[in-house]
Structures are given as structure tokens and as C-alpha cells.
Symmetry: C2
Subunit: 255 residues, 2 copies
């Protein structure tokens, strides 16, 4: 039955001049704002919303995806949609250990080690660390949570000659930079970053209870010691709605 122009038979939501997607977006925003839906609250099921807003699944999903891209909601793989908590502020040059950064913002931090091995450096890693390809490096992969929500998947590669035996330490409770200093007498004296917006790969995605292909912020970092030698490098993948990067410094005069 292609409805040519019935125009009124079944109108719970009065007709509209604005496109459904817009109305939907606003309706959802109202829901996020008006109700007592706090951070981390789960939204009603898609079918429920679809019924109560009088739309199709696809249209609804498009509106939800838009809000996700805006960073107002996020989804957990096959578990539903949730209201995004405020972004964590991540000061790139403060170089605070994760736990301290999080706790200084009145949030709770948890870390889980997914992998801690020694293995030969790939060409890419070797280049970043300034060592020969296939030289052994320590490889540490961790998932980090804020207020119980997994938001960061990070992979570290450390020079073994700088940090012998570091894998024997407790890598869930202790910060790496703190270990560097207290056990190895090494301080980070320069950092360099590359930041770009991409998607979660499969590994990161399931560590973050997310779907591969979801929006992500990549932060790659190389740490240097006082002699200008690269001592380790990180690859961080953040859920894109979870952070806001900040930084304050004097511009470089040279060049």
C-alpha cells in the first residue's frame, strides 16, 4: 500500500515541515538535556525510540550516528547507546601519569595489561626509536578506563637497553614514566606527538567494547631522554568523545 496522500489517518506526531532527521535530532537532544539522563545512562532501545518518535530504524540510526560523531552519545558493541560523560582533559605537555591526570579531574582510573612481551621491532617502530630493525623491544599493550568506561587502547614500545626487566614490574598499578624515573633514573626531557583523527581498528575496538570503525582520536608519541635519545614510543587510540587535548607553550622561534 503506497500511501499517496492519506495525510492524517495515523498521526501521533503531527506532520512536519522539517525533515525527519532534524526533528529526530532535536527530539533526542531534548531527551539528553531535559531528562535526568546522567552521564553514562543508557538510552532506550532502538525499537522503542523508533516507535516513540515515529520513524524508521535507519533514520533513527542516522540521527544517533550523528550525535555520536558530535560526541554527545556513544555506543557499546551490541549493548546500546549511552550518554557521553564530559571529555577528559589531556594536557599533552604536562606528561602526567594517566592515573594522576584522571584523578585530578575527580574521575576514577583503571588500567588493564593486555600484553607485555619482548619482541623484535618492526621497521616502523625501529625508525621511530632510532634502532635497527628486528632489535628486541618491550611491547606493552594496555586498556585504560575512566569511571569504569574503557576509553583508551595504548601500545608502548620500549628500548630494552634502557629498561631491562621492566616487564617484571606491576604494570597495572604503576605508571611507566614513574618507573622510568624511580628504577632507571631516566627522565623524559622531550616529547614529540602526531595527532590525527581516524577509526578504531579491530584490536582497539574490542578492548574498548566498541565496534571497529568507530570514530577515534590517535595520539602517537615518542619520548626522548636528556641526551636526545628516543627511549620509547606509544600508539594511543582514544574513543573520540572521551578526550579533549590541550597544550600551552612558547612557539618555536627557529626555522
Amino acid at each position: 500500500m503506497p500511501p499517496p496522500s492519506p495525510t492524517s489517518a495515523h498521526s501521533p506526531p503531527p506532520p512536519s515541515l522539517t525533515p525527519p532527521a532534524h526533528r529526530l535530532r532535536h527530539a533526542l537532544l531534548d531527551m539528553l538535556a531535559d531528562k535526568a539522563v546522567g552521564h553514562g545512562t543508557r538510552l532506550p532501545s532502538e525499537r522503542q525510540m523508533m516507535a516513540s518518535f515515529g520513524t524508521t530504524r535507519i533514520t533513527l540510526r542516522e540521527a544517533l550516528t550523528l550525535l555520536e560523531a558530535e560526541g554527545r552519545i556513544y555506543r557499546e558493541n551490541r549493548r546500546g547507546w549511552f550518554v557521553s560523560p564530559p571529555r577528559l582533559r589531556y594536557d599533552l605537555l604536562a606528561c602526567l601519569p594517566f592515573r594522576e591526570m584522571v584523578e585530578s579531574q575527580q574521575r576514577r582510573a583503571d588500567t588493564y595489561v593486555l600484553e607485555a612481551t619482548r619482541r623484535p621491532a618492526s621497521a616502523r617502530i625501529a625508525a621511530r626509536l632510532g634502532i635497527m630493525e628486528a632489535t628486541p623491544v618491550y611491547h606493552i599493550v594496555r586498556a585504560r578506563h575512566v569511571d569504569g568506561r574503557p576509553v583508551l587502547h595504548v601500545e608502548h614500545h620500549l628500548r630494552t637497553d634502557c629498561f631491562p626487566g621492566i616487564l617484571d614490574h606491576d604494570l597495572e598499578s604503576r605508571s611507566l614514566t614513574e618507573l622510568y624515573r624511580s628504577h632507571y633514573g631516566i627522565r623524559v626531557s622531550r616529547v614529540s606527538f602526531e595527532l590525527c583523527s581516524t577509526v578504531l581498528d579491530e584490536r582497539a575496538a574490542d578492548a574498548l567494547r566498541a565496534a571497529a570503525g568507530g570514530p577515534a582520536q590517535r595520539v602517537t608519541r615518542i619520548n626522548y631522554d636528556q641526551n636526545g635519545r628516543a627511549i620509547d614510543c606509544d600508539d594511543e587510540l582514544w574513543r573520540h568523545d572521551a578526550i579533549e587535548l590541550t597544550l600551552s607553550a612558547a612557539p618555536q622561534s627557529g626555522s
Copy 2:
């Protein structure tokens, strides 16, 4: 490791046990890689691809949207899909004028002034500049292109007491920071940034020939002079596939 489907194959042509979306993604990637599709090339029309890959419009669009999120392709509003050029490297602390940054990477820069007015500062702008709300500021909005592609929508707010009459200069050809120095004897001696990944708002979207809601990288900046006084602030919205932010500095010891 979730091995639900028998094939987690990453081989080029996985016949038809893998879900359509995966096959599609790989087919499209092959297209991007194998063919002589250079940067900026337009992809075939959706209906054409849909036919040649044997899928539905929706499924195809999902695959395209994924590649867009990865930064491999982008779309221009109602004009089609295009192959993303390599990302421009944007060194946050180099503080190079846009044109120089772009040209130093063998690309071509263009700037278009969309607005150049004097108007009272909003509460938000006033707070960032450390002035009273409703104090007049110069408001400059520009669109910036790389190799003919619009990639950046940027809004500047300048203190009028620092830069009297600056609107009379040619703001399309000359860089602001260069004007600051040459005409006003003011040098930027400190910058602070906030970076976060969001979406294009409507204004930015149509300046960038994009659709509102497309993925974007926001860069907000405040520039300070040698006395620590905020002299201007920027709000930049980049097409997210167009840039990679970089930065290298000594971590802050204090605090």
C-alpha cells in the same frame, strides 16, 4: 579474538562467505590502490558502484562512510566521493603562516575572506581574550584551500586595541601573524590550544563544500603577546582527513 565467521581473511578477493560490507570495503580499497586513481579523483557514481559490486545502496554507503571515517576518501556535498590527498602536516608550535606551511609541503594554498567585521564580544570570546563582554572585537572568518580543495574554516577574534584598523588590510593574501609583526610590532610569544574531534557545523560545512555533520577536527587557539596578554583567538574547523597535527617540545616540569 572473535572468530565467529569462518573467514577472517584479509586476502584481496574473499569470494562470498565474508559479509558484504567487508567484501565491499576491500573491493573499494583495491580500487583506490590498484587503479590510477590519484588524489582528488572522483569515484564512480554510487549507482554505478552499487551495480558493479552487486550490493544495495545502503550497504555501499556504509562502506563508503567507513572509508571516509578512516580518512581515505571524502565527499563533497551532492557532488560525489573523492580520493583523499595525503594529510597536510600542521606543526602546532611552528606557528607558520598558513601559506608557508602549505607551500613548504609542495602544495598550493588559497584563502577566501567570508566575513571581516567589528562586533561586540560574546561571553565566550570575552572570557578567552580576558576582556569585558560586549567589548568590540574584530571578527574575521576565512575559508582556506589546499590544492584547490577547501579544508579549513577558521574564525578569528582580535582585540581591537591591539590591532586598530586591521580590517583595511588585504586579508586574503597576507598572513595575520605577519601583519601583527610588521604593522603592529606584536609578536606571539605563547600559544595555547584545545583540540577535539567533532563535526562540521552548518556554516563551516558549506564553506567547505561539505555536509553538516561530517567528521571534523577542531583546533581552538589563543595567542598571547610578550606580556602574557591574550591578543586574539581562533576557532578552526578542519575536514578531518585533511590534516595531521604534530608537535615537539619539552614537557613542563612545574606542577
